[in-house]
Symmetry: C2
Amino acid sequence: MIARIDHIGIAIQNINDALKFFEDALGMKLDHIASEEGGRTKVAFMPVGSSDVELVEPQDAESGLGKFLAKRGEGVHHICFEVDDINAALARLKEHGAQLIDETPRTNASGMQYAFIHPKSAHGVLIELYQRPNGK
Amino acid sequence: MIARIDHIGIAIQNINDALKFFEDALGMKLDHIASEEGGRTKVAFMPVGSSDVELVEPQDAESGLGKFLAKRGEGVHHICFEVDDINAALARLKEHGAQLIDETPRTNASGMQYAFIHPKSAHGVLIELYQRPNGK
């Protein structure tokens, strides 16, 4: 049901500063930097095997990510797993009484469906589920 | 240099309780549960693609993991990356001024070399590096 770790999202204050560690010192490779969520987040994508490490920098202090950073400081923000069938996964979670942030999947600009599970149900981990667009 | 996410370690209070979420509700598959670090930690291994999710339950409240759990609560504890050459990776980190928990690699019972980077240098993330034993 869970196919793969798609990415680990790390909340950081400033991408250029964080790349000095993750790229220069640790030896990860930056693929690209993109503006996401209508400009509310800037993301640096670093492929690692069949997954990505994503450095996520809030552009809006009032966003969920901005508030997380102010409260908890830098660190792991969320883990995203690829699932084969996101609707089946959400139905199974609901059957077991899990608290969902998204009861139904959201769809982004590239047709990718995704949904978040509340960390209260997931032992303190903010979990994102994601399903590839059909045929990709 | 970084080959793969080897595992994500999630600090939890009780493995059997956490499996109700990760296995029953989320649909992960438990491979096995093992006693690690000379009995100081109990670990549930759940393979996900080419990585593992590991639920780590402290058996000693005075261990690093036990203190983390008491202070921060349940959640992501560390991220482990597989590297080709752990000594080269640690040398590069030192050159760039990164603070290491282990200046030289530790070796576990199965000959695996590993070392931790201090989260102060790694933007709040406790990072473990690991190198496979030769020829495995």
